[in-house]
Symmetry: D2
Subunit: 431 residues, 4 copies
Amino acid sequence: MPKDMTAPSTDIFERRESAARSYCRGMPATFATARGSQVFDAEGRSWIDFLAGCSSLNYGHNDPDMKEALIAHISGDGIAHGLDLHTDAKAAFLAAFERHILEPRDMDHRVMFTGPTGANAVEAAMKLARKATGRTNIIAFTNGFHGVTAGALAATGNGYHRGGAGMALQGVTRMPYDGYFGGHADTADFLEVMLKDKSGGIDAPAAILLETVQGEGGLNAARPEWVQRVAKLAKAHGALLIIDDIQAGCGRCGSFFSFEEMGVTPDIVTMAKSLSGFGLPMAMVLVRPEHDLFGPAEHNGTFRGNTHAFVTARVAIEKFWADDGFQKDLADKAALIHDRLADLAAMVPEGRIKGRGLMQGVDVGSGDLAGDICARAYDMGLVIETSGNEDQVVKVLAPLTTSQEVLRKGFEILLKAADEALAGTTKMAAE
Amino acid sequence: MPKDMTAPSTDIFERRESAARSYCRGMPATFATARGSQVFDAEGRSWIDFLAGCSSLNYGHNDPDMKEALIAHISGDGIAHGLDLHTDAKAAFLAAFERHILEPRDMDHRVMFTGPTGANAVEAAMKLARKATGRTNIIAFTNGFHGVTAGALAATGNGYHRGGAGMALQGVTRMPYDGYFGGHADTADFLEVMLKDKSGGIDAPAAILLETVQGEGGLNAARPEWVQRVAKLAKAHGALLIIDDIQAGCGRCGSFFSFEEMGVTPDIVTMAKSLSGFGLPMAMVLVRPEHDLFGPAEHNGTFRGNTHAFVTARVAIEKFWADDGFQKDLADKAALIHDRLADLAAMVPEGRIKGRGLMQGVDVGSGDLAGDICARAYDMGLVIETSGNEDQVVKVLAPLTTSQEVLRKGFEILLKAADEALAGTTKMAAE
Amino acid sequence: MPKDMTAPSTDIFERRESAARSYCRGMPATFATARGSQVFDAEGRSWIDFLAGCSSLNYGHNDPDMKEALIAHISGDGIAHGLDLHTDAKAAFLAAFERHILEPRDMDHRVMFTGPTGANAVEAAMKLARKATGRTNIIAFTNGFHGVTAGALAATGNGYHRGGAGMALQGVTRMPYDGYFGGHADTADFLEVMLKDKSGGIDAPAAILLETVQGEGGLNAARPEWVQRVAKLAKAHGALLIIDDIQAGCGRCGSFFSFEEMGVTPDIVTMAKSLSGFGLPMAMVLVRPEHDLFGPAEHNGTFRGNTHAFVTARVAIEKFWADDGFQKDLADKAALIHDRLADLAAMVPEGRIKGRGLMQGVDVGSGDLAGDICARAYDMGLVIETSGNEDQVVKVLAPLTTSQEVLRKGFEILLKAADEALAGTTKMAAE
Amino acid sequence: MPKDMTAPSTDIFERRESAARSYCRGMPATFATARGSQVFDAEGRSWIDFLAGCSSLNYGHNDPDMKEALIAHISGDGIAHGLDLHTDAKAAFLAAFERHILEPRDMDHRVMFTGPTGANAVEAAMKLARKATGRTNIIAFTNGFHGVTAGALAATGNGYHRGGAGMALQGVTRMPYDGYFGGHADTADFLEVMLKDKSGGIDAPAAILLETVQGEGGLNAARPEWVQRVAKLAKAHGALLIIDDIQAGCGRCGSFFSFEEMGVTPDIVTMAKSLSGFGLPMAMVLVRPEHDLFGPAEHNGTFRGNTHAFVTARVAIEKFWADDGFQKDLADKAALIHDRLADLAAMVPEGRIKGRGLMQGVDVGSGDLAGDICARAYDMGLVIETSGNEDQVVKVLAPLTTSQEVLRKGFEILLKAADEALAGTTKMAAE
């Protein structure tokens, strides 16, 4: 280890890192190591992690089995970078994914490895749908988040991110997500009426693109029956159904895919984040054979197929998804999370629990309050973040492998932070 | 290692991997390990590597120092995924990059870590230029390659890739690259005339985006004076100069940046491929402070900042760029490569050497011939690929660390392959 | 008159006119003369006109006063084509328009003469709103019709017309018009929610563009309170309110502008169709002084300012709008039309009266039936057309000057045609 | 004539006409009448007209035969507005156009009447080409002018007009017009190279759109061999050739179409301006039968088919194009114009004659000088305007019917104005 690593100063970040840096502003520690659900900074201070790399670390930090396999691979001079050549590591991942994920779910999808980011998977999916249908228009939803490269950003609802484009984005029609207008109306009705109307002004869609739970959008969870209706509308109008399972997939909602129990078979699924299991960059697109229409390298990218990630991703699949033990365990944790969040929601006037599975949180009504709670939690040893169009949702994205004990500890901190934040709010209001 | 990895069959690729897979079609081995400039398949067959992950492995496979540092990091439960939080690994990389790369070159650029693909870096650069100038139009060049996500693809010239978009791309004006019309005309003249013309129909550009050597485009190398003129035109017209150094940077052209000796200071530089040194996904945008205008997370991405890559990238910088030894060595190798390619060019009617530094090749006049040469080379133990708008250029992208001995061996195979291919062509022509 | 005009054959249309011709397919007569509310073919057959050039002949055919003024102008070698130079005819029109239209309504709008088509006025209005706000997005509504040139077509809802573009259209977000989802929901609520939502994915609008009655869209009439809310939303979000009064203006809804009694002041109004009074091509954009931002000729066009049209348009303003007599008369006729359409609606199962003023019709539930009724009416001497997304609305657009007697005659034919068509339908259903 | 027309004040224009008004700023008279090549203001002052409504009055003002036919039509209650119904006037125009224009030139084109502006014809042509080919991209040229509605504006080169869009325009690739880089290079070579290049980044074009003489662009006249090569390139690449003959057609270049003697048959021709003969709004698209692909009303517009214009357009065709007398006369006048312009060019350092036929002018090297000359000419009784990307070309667009005597008088004024302007310039330079 070189000398200048022993006492890293944050000056270098101020001096040289772009103003686009973000999380480090609210959580300014310099992190050094991490195990399971805990992270440590260089001075040995520790935090419980209820953020999990925004759901990229569903199996926790440095899972020992993945770690062992990865070190073995590197030690043995395993391929690190293999373009899209055949490698033993890729074959092993594919075999495990087929055996434990695709076959048990009767999915005949092909696996397309894209550049290892969620945005890239979404871009590939959107392009594929347009190529397959000869249509341009893709329907996406309010509060959806699909990435910030130009194609994906057109589908992303967030105005701050959209503004970063510096230009008008194209090719996407926005429709209201499930529950968008409260209980008054089923937004699938609107979608149906507008698609059927010959003068509705919505061009025939290449695809309908959705998250079953909108992570960045505020933990909005679509009802299964809404997803089913949207799936039927897609089919009826010759559009592909793309489910973006980047944040909600890999067990986050309680099953491997977020849509498993909804009775729909997406034409295309995008995956990234926790796919590698270890937090390594990896992304892929699952596509039904009849839509697997890109020619060789028509959509390409130097890092499509990250070999290190294949190694850990294979272990993740084999360790957690070869039988139903893990999934059962998730149900218990989801219940615990829901209970504790109910406590939090009860503390806040009009607090509302949102999301499902291990992707839940509480809408506390204002971004200021949610931010205050998270800032106080960080000071007390809990890494946690907000989401939502006003950053008004305190979002729990703990590793799925977090023990009930650590979950409880984390919630203790969270509730204390909320208590203090609310007291502060009350105090301020009183002054 | 699980049982099903011992004898990986390629059936799984046929059965489950998308038709978009590409390199594996011409090089069907299942690769397993690699060291330096050699790759090995599971049965122990070996190849000299003149492709180097399309210039992503400039320091060879599994460099022992990077490998050691990476294993130490993983073994010690170093952070694997850290979003854009401060980590010791990131600090160390930034410090090394500042000390050995930016400061000696008087570059005051800030470093923006984007999603770890070249395309993402290009997308960020294009967005930034648009945001900074309030303009939409970006000038890109014939035969440029900048990635296949929607924003970057608009700047990419390749029609096959563009066709994959399934829609009209926008925001880019195409201009002829240096030498595009042969010796008859300086294309910078055209650019100047069209930009100056109030009715030229070229909207005021946010940026001019170029590679100093077009790797995918056929190893077209721009003259320094052309790049200088383009830089001046950019400045005169209020546009940013973006140099895409994803393939040509990291020493590939003989110096760390491809533009170092050209007397230009780009406003923005995009980097990826060999940046991590080890073939791990990593990308970044260098941007002058006055244009570092994204707000926090305005351009974001889960994998921005790949911590494993920071570890190996730091070693790469410190090992190869702390003094000028490596760079001097590159000059010798570039000369050797040029000599051997001259032999190849001499074998082919109208064969032409293209490119510069360690990014050279021979235009053999037809894609069929170039493909035949590469296929024969593969069969004889050399991994090498074509590039160019007709795939007519045999392209040598050996690791920069390849010894002169291995370079010579590789060229022996290449020349033999060319000899046989030409004999076959002649034979066919004679029949 | 040349010899070949004496007995014009329709062969020439078959042989030489484009397949894009339309009305002549269902109404194949060769028309020759017209007076008031009657048209005549070359053989002397006559029709009552309930189409009025799609509301371009609100004052009937060949109004004697306009005719006299126009002949005087031509006879005296008055300017026929004057670009946008000052002419006495333009001055006189402007003076009359200011005195009788703008001043009494407290409108400080400037008058911009565009190319003499409604589409051109809409294009100018959209460009102006974008220039004024620096934003691209324009909100338009389901079933809106604003023209078929690329900018206006983006705002037009009709899928058949949109398909004619041969490309994806851009710059417009579609929202549901008043009453679009029936009684269940106020669509202004949706607009409000989506505009307010920072992640709603609707970019900040340059303008909201609407017709108060959608003529082509099926005579959908917006409620005044809906228009008021939309106007407030526009203001609150920094968008201009553009009212497209091309079909609904010039008295068609009972007052000069369709929005007069709604309590809104549009930032921009587009006018065409009946503006010249005589059916001559003329269009203009009314724009509040603070948004009158085009530089000289920034939006131009050879035929902006049709001098012959200025002559007749002045007469139309002075004859019909100098006092309130005409407007009072319109109220009586609107009542008569409503009564007769009630009779028609009653004949049809689920028949519904639509529209308002002298822009009413009946939704007969199917395009086939509506088409059948109009075809039979034509055969019996009444020119009338359908509108709506399924062509399901029989639309009455009689000249506003049609006498009550002629209106009654026209309705006699219409009701008889409906009776026969329904009998035919019943008969077919019975068979 | 109403009282307030007797002494029209220009106050009304200041008060109520949009800032977009343009020609009236430099020529502030209020014009009232016009005959042949002369225009008169209300006070009886007269000007010779070398502008001719920007080539909309090729047969002069108020041609007596057209005038007589138009008055007869109006007096007899001829149809004024007929949508796209069959009318006797349309039949007569089509018959005359077929007999005297299309048949003698072996043109099998169909006639599509669009909204009566050149922009609308161009929009229709572009849409048609896209629909016919299934491609989006249209190639247009530097300094081309095709109108300012969004589709046409994308093809227009002028930056001032483009800026009026308030948004990025799309669907057009810009290429250099003939002679754009001076004598150094044939720009058709560039077009060929870029179209052939699979990585040239120019998407396969739906059409190539050009003017044979660029009127607004500065009287740039393409060589016939260049137009022929472009026509061949269009064909070779599956693109339609669209010739925009709006300004250069109707005899302006010496023959009815500007391309007649070039040996090319455009797939589509756009016409407007002088088509009606009388300065009335009229436009049309000529399209070869195999590309006549719009369905009924797919491209529509209320004023498609201006009946008054049909009446005068028929007379224009029969009077001027039934035999070759007029065309022969044009050749003489073109020679006279060329001679006089040679005198003007000789007065100006580096003055250059531009254009051809009766569409010629002199590039005087600066917009200031050209503007000064035209302003002085106006004061001396000559209406004349500039064109070009710097407004540096003094452009003569006299009615084709102007007698040699009047032409000479006009040139006397023009040369005197130039003399004074140059003296002024010299004087200023001397001071």
